[in-house]
């Protein structure tokens, strides 16, 4: 049962979803919409489970005073601060006008999001701007025909995107758009067709129970 039941469930849901695409019956649509709602609840619950897992992994390491345990305290502390601020009901401290202090739209929760999470999140990705400049200098070399084609396309697109490109030659954006619409789309569509066939094959393998890695087998 531990093995068979999950395989049967995947088979039934997967088959229903494929069939739903081809069966224009209102009852089928209603049933799939209901099941889809359950699906999104489970997906959401997985995040909560993930949160619990992080605590489970980090608390023993803090208790054992392992290397960098202080940072782990920061991690767990900030996560808890967010959870507590979010779960205290908004009605606990609600001024006459403006936002409440607590709750997921409260001042504390929003403060932590706007001034701690958001800048850290954005700056993590902003680091890539610097690394890409370094990559461009060190690794983007016209070693052979293929690399030269790639490099030329990259430069045309980069020049076509900035207003200086238009200033140098008014046709520059059109050349960039042509590369995108035709040369890029040609290769991209070949990839898409390949990926689509792969996705169908993988989907079928999962539905038929031939692929079981997601079940931990």
């Amino acid at each position: 049962m531990k093995q068979t039941l999950p395989l049967v469930i995947t088979f039934l849901i997967g088959t229903l979803m494929v069939a739903e695409f081809f069966v224009p019956h209102a009852g089928v649509h209603e049933l799939t919409a209901l099941l889809q709602e359950w699906g999104l609840v489970i997906a959401a619950a997985a995040f909560v489970l993930g949160g619990i897992n992080v605590v489970q992994v980090n608390i023993p390491k803090i208790a054992r005073r392992e290397r960098d345990w202080g940072y782990r305290v920061v991690l767990i502390g900030s996560a808890l601060a967010m959870v507590i601020a979010g779960f205290i009901p908004a009605s606990v401290f609600k001024p006459e006008t403006g936002a409440p202090l607590f709750g997921k739209e409260g001042i504390v929760f929003t403060f932590l999001f706007d001034y701690v999470f958001a800048p850290a999140n954005a700056t993590m990705f902003a680091l890539l701007a610097f690394f890409i400049a370094s990559a461009a200098f060190r690794a983007f070399r016209a070693r052979n025909l293929e690399a030269t084609l790639m490099l030329s396309a990259a430069i045309v697109v980069m020049v076509g995107v900035i207003p200086v490109g238009e200033w140098i030659w008014s046709g520059m954006p059109a050349v960039k758009q042509w590369i995108l619409d035709y040369a890029n789309n040609a290769g991209r569509r070949a990839i898409m067709v390949g990926v689509a066939l792969g996705a169908v094959a993988t989907g079928l393998r999962i539905i038929l129970g031939l692929e079981r890695s997601h079940l931990g087998d």
Partner: protein, 310 residues
Amino acid sequence: MLEKLATLDRRWLFLVMAIAIIVPLLVPVSLPFEASPPVRATYDAVEALRPGQTVLLSIDYDPAARPEVEPWARAVLRHLLRRRVKIVMMTLWDKAPPIVRSLINEIVLGEYNQRRGYFAPDQPGGRLAQDYAPYRYGEDYVFLGYKDGKEIVIAGMGQNLRQMFPVAEAEREGGDKIPVARIPVLSGISSLRDFALILEASAGFPGAKEYVQQVVTRYRLRFAAATTAVSVTDLSPYYPEQMLGLIGGMRGSAEYEQLVEAPGLGTSGLNVLTFGQIFVILAIVLGNVIFFLQRRLRPRSSPGAGGGVG
């Protein structure tokens, strides 16, 4: 000298990059630019909407992608308000609800309803706005909130929107959620097929690609999206047959701002982007000059096989 340049500490490159960004910000310059066809097509699709039609605006980005797609989100929200269409907002990204809240507070409540900024009587929005009257929550616009489930939610909305979103966010922060049955703006809407147009600000997965795959192609929906620049080449095959329009990154956002006459962070960012991109182009050229000079000086060293970007 060549060796020194070839093995240059990359922190010098980081420093020049920082200068290329900060200096043009402090000493602004601006060059004229034109809107590309996919951006103009999106603008035209919004322009063709009739007052009272209902549009879905899916805000699917996190704070990290803000500089790329938020200028468009702000510009298109102003455009939709100007067209006096009904707006249903939602998100598939867990980090987006505070962003949507701030868009509503700033643009719908702050600018439009108080006729300030872009909607001041002498500003473009104020001049062009149709049948001016304040936007009322629930009647003219609503924010449905966030749902997890990625493709499942998108496909589910294609079947039954209310099953996925049984309640909408409260009008004010901290208020109780409102059952969708009590929301007039959703009265004629049971699935994605009932929207006159679907617009999305997309920063990756789940985003424009999943919309196209799960519902747009299947139900032949009218759909346009602004995406991060990284996704443009992936989404380009969907334009123009499956996507009405495609706005790529900061440049696309700036183009849209120009079309709606609301120059903002996209436009000012684009001028800075120019210097950053010129620096990267120079870095590529310089890297290659060094590479070829070194190869000429050491003819026996074998040229490598690939040309990866590292």
